[in-house]
């Protein structure tokens, strides 16, 4: 356990050094890239909690990610225009308000979707989560007030304690702290009795029910918690890119999040972050050489799914075990 703590600390320090290294080497895009990887990793990790630990294959997770982003976008829109949402809630540009608001709204949305979707299972569950995500997607596309298909430009990043939020490095460190906090939260969650219950339901729901666990309620709570995490990631992303668009909710985004989870390793804590890093780096690096980057990405993904079990984390573990 001690060694694990040390490893985490080393990773955290290395990640904290990224903006300095980027400055020193003149690779200023690196901060942007790693920041986005951290945020996408959070979204993927939130999905992994229900998918990997809970066995619920949600194909609509981008909806909650997008809702979190739109909360920030809509609050900024009203702050900028000096109006109020539905004439009741005034806008704001304070990060300490927008992030919790995003978490709460996306968590509630996930609770609503989960309450309906969890009445089905298997293929139907995959499809009904997709259906709800599509409904949210078309809803934001049809809202002309909030940019419709074009999305919302957030001209200035949310404020926090008078820090200079225009500085990408400052923003990056805030993202890093939140991501690290979320990682620790997930680690506690997975090891808690609730986390054990969720894992038990994945392995054998009937047995858990026989032990007196209200399985539907536990699954619903996990689903809402996971949606809230995705909302937090979405809210950070909109701050980071200063832009909220319907693309955040597109069904291919849900697919990409699943890809990150699988690529990194289902049901592992670090896997989704590694998967997000691998996919995002692959896309941007290949995108520099060819506009047809999707072809190699598709082939690599296919090989990973067909040939490896347990994704990159599984590969790492097997190498480590083989060396011993």
């Amino acid at each position: 356990m001690k060694r694990g703590h040390l490893g985490l600390l080393v990773v955290f320090v290395l990640l904290a050094l990224v903006p300095l290294v980027a400055d020193a080497t003149g690779q200023s895009s690196m901060t942007r890239l790693v920041g986005q990887v951290l945020i996408l990793g959070m979204a993927a990790a939130s999905l992994n909690f229900i998918l990997g630990f809970g066995g619920m294959v949600s194909f609509g997770h981008a909806a909650f990610y997008g809702i979190g982003g739109y909360v920030v976008g809509i609050l900024y829109h009203h702050f900028d225009a000096g109006t109020a949402f539905l004439g009741l809630i005034p806008g704001t540009d304070q990060l300490l308000l927008t992030l919790p608001a995003a978490v709460i709204v996306s968590g509630l949305a996930a609770a609503l979707v989960g309450a309906l979707a969890l009445r089905t299972g298997g293929v139907q569950f995959i499809m009904i989560t997709l259906a709800f995500a599509q409904m949210f997607f078309f809803l934001v596309v049809s809202l002309k007030t909030y940019g419709g298909e074009d999305g919302i430009m957030v001209r200035r990043t949310n404020e926090l304690f008078g820090l200079n939020m225009r500085d990408k490095a400052t923003l990056y460190w805030i993202v890093l702290v939140v991501a690290a906090g979320y990682y620790l939260f997930l680690r506690r969650l997975v090891n808690s009795s609730f986390g054990q219950t969720i894992a038990g339901i994945r392995q054998n729901e009937r047995r858990m029910a026989a032990m007196g666990v209200d399985t539907t309620r536990a699954k619903l709570f996990a689903f809402a918690l996971s949606g809230a995490g995705a909302g937090l990631a979405g809210a950070l992303m909109v701050n980071f890119l200063r832009f909220a668009s319907p693309d955040m909710m597109h069904w291919t985004k849900s697919g990409e999040l699943m890809v990150m989870v699988i690529l990194g390793g289902v049901g592992t804590l670090a896997g989704p972050f590694i998967g997000a890093g691998a996919l995002f780096t692959l896309e941007t690096t290949l995108g520099r050489f060819t506009e047809h980057w999707a072809l190699p990405v598709g082939i690599i993904l296919l090989v990973v799914v067909l040939a490896t079990r347990g994704g990159l984390m599984g590969l790492v573990r097997r190498i480590v075990e083989w060396r011993r």
Binding site: L130, G298, L306
Partner: protein, 304 residues
């Protein structure tokens, strides 16, 4: 009234297109238990092969068989190379592998045909309009699409209910393990069903090619609606797919045609337009959510 009949025919045409796709998908779903997101890619392949051949030769009747054969062969290759390895995997692996196939197919087609959409013409024989009602001319080609779709529905009904292969298909949809235990060569049955599904998806693409712009991404546009049809109709049920395809095709078309106009009565023009289009796009998903909440396995679910 005339507008209503016209939209009814449009809905019917969209419905049979959905049915051609959904029939194959529901069989693949029901019998092999595979979620094939790349089914839309076969629709795209059929459309591209037919549109390109039609444009080169100037003859739709050459494009049609070329499109069919290409779609079936590509489908067969897909089954042998990838799908076959997914039968024993869980849904998650299937979703991801076929998601990867979408990326591969879309990029390959972009590499071959470029980003410009192809526009092909309907055959000369069907290029005119037929006056279905006094004062309502309707394109003959669209009527032809409806007729083909309904003919395929009848053909599939006979194939599935009256032949030995159909019996195996029905048995497979009800209880896969039992069919295997009774000594049926399940590998060949799977390949045949997959190729049939690919053929039907290709046919849907070919039929749509003179009506739509043939471009990369056309598969994803329609595949989600197809999945809705399959799930609403009940996985594995061709009858369910037929009913759900026609109903959902009709609802979708009617909403798109009339909702923006209705909303314009209560709110300003451009916003009503945007909201109307948005809600129309949500319509079929809302339908699916409602159906699944009442009947979690769909309307005509096969098996127990």
């Amino acid at each position: 009234m005339i507008l209503l009949v016209e939209q009814f025919l449009n809905g019917l045409q969209y419905g049979v297109t959905l049915f051609l796709l959904a029939a194959g998908l529901t069989l693949i779903f029901g019998i092999m238990g595979v979620i094939n997101l790349a089914h839309g890619a076969l629709y795209m392949v059929g459309a591209f092969a037919a549109a390109w051949t039609t444009m080169q030769t100037g003859n739709f009747w050459i494009g049609l068989p070329v499109g069919l054969v290409t779609a079936a062969l590509v489908g067969l290759a897909m089954e042998l190379a990838v799908i076959r390895r997914l039968y024993q995997r869980d849904h998650l692996d299937q979703v991801l592998a076929t998601f990867a196939l979408i990326l591969i197919f879309n990029q390959s087609v972009t590499l071959i045909f470029g980003r410009q959409p192809l526009f092909s013409q309907p055959p000369a024989l069907l290029s005119g309009a037929v006056e279905v009602l006094p004062g309502l001319p309707y394109p003959a080609y669209r009527l032809f699409v409806i007729a083909v779709g309904l003919a395929v529905a009848v053909g599939l009904y006979l194939l599935i209910n009256k032949t030995r292969i159909g019996m195996l298909v029905r048995a497979g949809a009800t209880n896969r393990q039992m069919v295997r235990a009774l000594g049926v060569d399940i590998g060949r049955l799977y390949s045949a069903v997959f190729a049939l599904g690919a053929l039907l998806a290709g046919l849907a693409g070919i039929m749509a090619s003179p009506i739509l712009a043939v471009q990369v991404g056309m598969g994803e546009e329609i595949i989600l609606a197809t999945f809705v049809v399959v799930v609403v109709g009940g996985v594995g049920s061709v009858k369910g797919a037929f009913v759900a395809a026609l109903v959902l095709g009709m609802i979708d078309t009617m909403l798109r045609a009339f909702l923006p106009g209705l909303l314009q009565g209560v709110m300003p023009g451009p916003e009503a337009q945007a909201l109307g289009v948005g809600i129309s796009s949500m319509g079929i998903y809302l339908m699916m959510a409602i159906v699944l909440l009442i009947r979690p396995r769909g309307l005509f679910a096969a098996g127990g």
